[in-house]
Each structure stands twice: as C-alpha cells, then as structure tokens.
C-alpha cells in the first residue's frame, strides 16, 4: 500500500475586499501501523477525539482515504496556554494494489483507534507449493 500525499490543502478564500487569499487548512496526518500477513493488510490509525459519526472511510479500486473530525469540548472564552495539537481534522490516504479485495473491507473504531482490515482476494492468497522428493 503506497501513500499519497494529501497533508495540506490550500483553501482559496475570498476576503471581504474581494481579493483572493490563500489560507492553508492544517490537516493532521494520523500516525499509522500497517502490516500484512497471509490473509491481507491491516491498518491502524490514531485519531483521538474522533467518534464513529465523524469518521469517513472511502475506498475505490485503487485508493483508501481516511478522514476524521475530532471533537474537543472547550469552555466558553478559553485561553490556550499550550497547544501541541492545532487542528481537529485528520486525513491520510493510501494507494491500494490490485490483489486486495476492497469489497470486503472491515473497519472498526474504538477509543480513537481506527482498525481497517483489507483481505486479499481469495485466488491471490499464497498457496503452499509441495516439493516432491525425487
């Protein structure tokens, strides 16, 4: 699974004066673990603050896109004293290879950890080859 680069998205906005301004929309790239075994590929991503209703997973035949919106309840008039995290949007995408069975993707979300499992197509799973002794 190769990674495509969609970290930063420049959003064009029209200011009140009618002049076009570019304002970068900061998007967080969630850290992922990706591993493969004989049955397929598993991806796990950290997206703290994201619940199921604020998570989007899109798959087409050659790309997997994961997007999430974190919700952090903040009090009225809160003043930031320290901010390691400066955005609530997560996004990351991956190019998929043809032998994955994208029709049977399984995804689950618990405590902000997304697990996506993409099986390999049955006919592509490795077959053990017996070696005959002569």
């Amino acid at each position: 699974m190769a990674e495509t680069n969609t970290e930063r998205k420049d959003v064009k906005q029209t200011g009140t004066s009618g002049v076009q301004q570019r304002e970068p929309e900061v998007v967080l790239r969630p850290p992922v673990d990706i591993y493969e075994d004989a049955d397929g590929i598993t991806l796990m991503a950290d997206m703290p603050g994201v619940s199921r209703d604020r998570l989007t997973i899109e798959v087409d035949k050659d790309m997997l896109l994961v997007e999430g919106d974190a919700r952090i309840d903040m009090s009225e008039g809160m003043e930031a004293l320290h901010a390691d995290v400066r955005s609530t949007r997560y996004r990351r995408s991956f190019a998929l290879s043809g032998e994955l069975e994208t029709g049977h993707i399984d995804a689950s979300l618990k405590d902000g950890v997304l697990s996506v499992r993409i099986p390999r197509r049955a006919e592509v799973r490795p077959r053990k080859i017996e070696v005959r002794a002569e």
């Binding site: 850290p31 990706i34 493969e36 950290d46 008039g77 809160m78 003043e79 004293l81 995290v85 618990k110």
Partner: protein
C-alpha cells in the same frame, strides 16, 4: 498615537517586560528559556492546555488507552499523568509502517498556581483524556475610596 507619548524614555523596556510576563505562561514558544519541565515536540502523548478564569483544562491526545493503567495526580500545581498505551508488534506479520507509540508514558505538567487540587475531574472519551481543574477564587480587589 497619544497613548505612546506617555511611554517616552523607558517605554521600550516596559514593553519588553510586559511581553515577558505574557510569554511566561506560554511554555517557551518565545526564544527564551523554556519552562523547566517542557519537553521536546513529539513527546507522547500530545497535550493541549486551556484556561478560563474559573478552571484549567488539560487534554491528552492518547487513542487506545486502557484507563486502568492511568495514574493521574496533582500536587499543588504539578500535574502528573502516567499510563501505558499498547500497540504491540505482531510477530507473524510484515510491517510497512510502525508509527504509533507503544509502551508506557509519563508527562509532568506545570499548571497555573491557583489550581485547586481538591476539585479535579477526569474523563476519557474517544481517545482524549480530559482533566478539568477548578481554580481557587481570586480575592476580589477592594475598592478604595478617595475622600
């Protein structure tokens, strides 16, 4: 423009000192010595701290935590949060990426001095650990009448 006239002479240093005081609470974002407990960027877990006059809120972004491993303690205004986040490597699999933090962590955070250790609440939801600490009521300024 007229306000600046009152700052003739030592005005520059007054401004610097005011900035210094403001930055004091901002954990070393300014090119001055960082808070003695501040850590390198990228330390796990990421933390945000916000404050209102009534309370201080600390957010730790730690997905997949087991709340049973969490230890949160507040001594005067020093908050200590430790725990463990498991993201173990599966032996039989090939890893292409292993970016997620795995193991124990501890963060010590210096909070404003008026936090009240007896009024702390913590909850963990969707991977965010929120700690809310009420602040002691400031003594109200006394009005002084000029006779």
């Amino acid at each position: 423009m007229f306000a600046d006239l009152t700052n003739f002479g030592g005005g520059l240093f007054d401004e610097l000192r005011r900035l210094q005081d403001e930055m004091e609470g901002l954990y070393g974002r300014w090119p001055m010595p960082a808070g003695i407990r501040s850590v390198a960027r990228g330390t796990y877990p990421p933390i945000n701290i916000g404050a209102t006059p009534e309370q201080v809120d600390v957010y730790l972004f730690a997905a997949g935590l087991d709340p049973k491993t969490l230890d949160i303690s507040l001594q005067q205004n020093l908050l200590t949060v430790s725990g463990e986040r498991q993201a173990p490597v599966r032996e039989e699999a090939n890893y292409y990426r292993k970016e997620r933090f795995d193991g124990p962590f501890r963060r010590l955070i210096t909070l404003p001095e008026d936090v009240d250790p007896d009024r702390v609440e913590a909850n963990y939801r969707d991977g965010v650990l929120e700690i809310h600490i009420k602040r002691r009521e400031a003594t109200k300024p006394r009005q002084i009448e000029v006779k």
